[in-house]
């Protein structure tokens, strides 16, 4: 048997890792990212002549848990047609037996990278509101993301915000039928075996982590998710993660002045309410969380925080500063005029 040098081992590994796109309409361009489920490559769709992102499992087989999860992820994406959620184009199996799906190639930066270039707190909060929009839409379709964190949000060159990586998503009971329909309409290349490997609706309902396995990201997953209490998870679990993302955005705000810091008690209260240990203490829906952020941006009181008189006055002043200064200027002018006339 031939002795394989370390160099040969490296070449064999490198050669074996690349997905075999023979027989597909895609041409490999390069690796983009690597995650727990597989590797994301940039590829060119030679039929439509556009760049796509191709997510592929590392290990072949359409029957394993990972293959099932990848196909479920594609189905979830097919179900969620929203400007804030990356659209899936195709799903199937490669010649080397690996399951893959393609999606829109998102050019831009991850939120954690993007945020360092955005100094303005209101701009950051507007990005956060767009994340909330996408998540609220998913919740309306009975889909929980379960892995919301800055690394899973992309911000495009035109300011578009996309929530990525739905590999841990859970479809709640009432969404079974649409999930199936959505997947079938999007599965243009999916083979029959792959479909059966993904399981039927009941499998989806139980969720990938239906047996209490803890999946998620520490610091961003809710306490009930960290405990593996899968049956307790609902929209409020994602709200916890959103609260953690919000806190991340606030902490990263190096431009905050002293007066901002005082007002940010409202935002701290919003974060605290969103990330309450008890789900009952959190916002009941993403819309309510987003509403509080919108109110903050509009200079209104947030529902999560009872303001003191001083805070109210300061907020009132900040909101109507222009008119207050205008009236003050007018009064000063009148006063000066009176003094001048009396002389």
């Amino acid at each position: 048997m031939k002795f394989l040098s370390d160099k040969a081992l490296t070449r064999l590994r490198d050669g074996a890792e690349l997905p075999d796109l023979a027989g597909t309409r895609y041409r490999l361009l390069g690796q983009v990212a690597r995650g727990g489920m597989g590797v994301v490559y940039a590829a060119e769709d030679e039929t439509l002549r556009r760049r796509v992102a191709l997510k592929v499992l590392e290990v072949p087989g359409e029957e394993g848990e990972l293959a099932g999860r990848l196909i479920r992820e594609a189905r979830v994406l097919a179900l969620l047609e929203h400007p804030g959620i990356v659209p899936v184009h195709d799903v199937g199996s490669l010649a080397d037996g690996r399951v893959f799906y393609t999606m829109k190639f998102v050019e831009g930066q991850r939120l954690d990278q993007y945020i360092s270039t955005v100094a303005s707190l209101p701009d950051r909060l507007r990005v956060f509101l767009r994340i909330c929009d996408a998540v609220a839409f998913a919740h309306a379709r009975d889909v929980l993301h379960r892995d919301l964190k800055p690394a899973n949000v992309m911000v495009g060159p035109f300011g578009e915000v996309l929530v990525m990586d739905w590999g841990l998503a859970k479809i709640l009971g009432s969404a079974n039928k649409p999930a199936s329909e959505g997947a079938e309409s999007g599965a243009t290349v999916l083979q029959t075996e792959a479909l059966s490997a993904a399981g039927d609706n009941s499998t989806e309902t139980s969720g990938v982590t239906g047996h209490g396995t803890v999946m998620g990201t520490p610091g961003y997953m809710s306490p009930e998710q960290a405990r593996g209490d899968v049956h307790l998870l609902d929209a409020r679990s994602d709200i916890f993660s959103l609260g953690a993302v919000l806190r991340y955005l606030l902490k990263k705000d190096a431009s905050a002045s002293a007066s901002d810091t005082r007002l940010d008690r409202s935002l701290e209260a919003v974060c605290a309410k969103a990330t309450a240990a008890d789900p009952a203490g959190r916002y009941p829906s993403v819309q309510e969380l987003a509403l509080d952020i919108s109110r903050y941006l509009d200079g209104l009181a947030v529902g999560a925080h009872r303001e003191s008189l001083l805070e109210k006055s300061l907020r009132f002043y900040r909101r109507y500063r222009f008119f207050i200064l205008l009236i003050l200027a007018y009064l000063v002018m009148r006063l000066l005029l009176l003094v001048f006339l009396k002389r």
Binding site: M1, K2, F3, L4, S5, K7, A8, L9, T10, R11, L12, R13, G15, A16, E17, L18, D20, A22, R34, G35, G36, M37, V39, E58, V59, P60, G64, E65, L66, A95, D96, G97
Partner: protein, 253 residues
């Protein structure tokens, strides 16, 4: 058992999901023997090198210990005690080797084995050559992590070596001898000057033919290596993890 049988696995590929662990627990003696052959083919080189370097044993001692280890594995049905849920087979075997060497009463056991145990026909001289090529300092294997790393690397080398031999056989059977030569020249040789263009010129074919041949060979190699790997894993989960380790795929973030 001969080395040819061991390394080639009899030239057969079992039906999917045949596992050495299940076979080792089979009531059928022939099936158990086949399991040991498969396991021996994948692990004897890493075990031998490990004993030589980790335990600093001379070549004759290490040969004896390697033979003894696999004989004991069959005698004491060590694989029956392996629990795929608790550890990887690779780690379990390494610990078994450590335990075996530590407990070895050289004189007594060698005497015992000399009479009763059938020796495996293993190419120890070839491995000695490999060891002489490697410039590894035994002192660098001091920590448990480095030991595990070394054993894993040699295990991957052994696994890939078997897969390359299978690929060579498959190419010959399918009249793709040239494909294997291309694969050998580009992926296995340490020639930094090699290129698709040079290979195309050397073999008198188009560059696209080289590209296609190498793509086919790499796909087959990958498939064969994963089939081999699946055989020596105790569970689907272990297979997934070992595939990541063998191919250098990073662990999930």
């Amino acid at each position: 058992m001969t080395q040819d049988n061991a390394t080639a696995g009899g030239g057969r590929f079992p039906p999917t999901r045949w596992s050495v662990i299940e076979a080792a627990q089979s009531p059928d003696g022939a099936e158990r023997k086949r399991a040991l052959e498969t396991l021996c083919a994948a692990y004897w080189k890493p075990v031998y090198k490990y004993v030589r370097l980790r335990w600093n044993r001379s070549a004759p001692d290490a040969q004896d210990l390697t033979q003894g280890f696999f004989a004991e594995m069959l005698e004491r049905e060590l694989l029956n005690r392996f629990d795929a849920a608790k550890s990887r087979l690779r780690t379990y075997l390494r610990i078994c080797v450590d335990s075996f060497v530590m407990n070895e009463d050289k004189a007594a056991r060698r005497q015992k084995r000399g009479g009763n145990v059938q020796h495996l026909a293993l190419d120890f001289a070839g491995v000695e050559e490999e060891l002489s090529v490697a410039t590894l300092d035994p002192a660098s294997l001091a920590s448990p992590e480095s030991l595990e790393e070394y054993f894993e690397k040699e295990w991957v080398r052994s696994l890939f070596g078997l897969a390359v031999e299978d690929l060579r056989r498959r190419c010959l059977e399918n009249d793709r001898e040239r494909t294997f030569h291309l694969f050998e020249a580009y992926d296995l040789e340490d020639d930094d000057q090699v290129s698709y263009e040079r290979l195309a010129g050397h073999f008198g074919i188009a560059v696209t033919d080289v590209t296609n041949a190498l793509a086919w060979a790499r796909r087959e190699f990958r498939k064969i290596a994963l089939e081999r790997l699946r055989e020596i894993c105790g569970s689907e989960d272990e297979f997934q993890r070992e595939a990541k380790a063998a191919f250098g795929w990073e662990a999930p973030q």
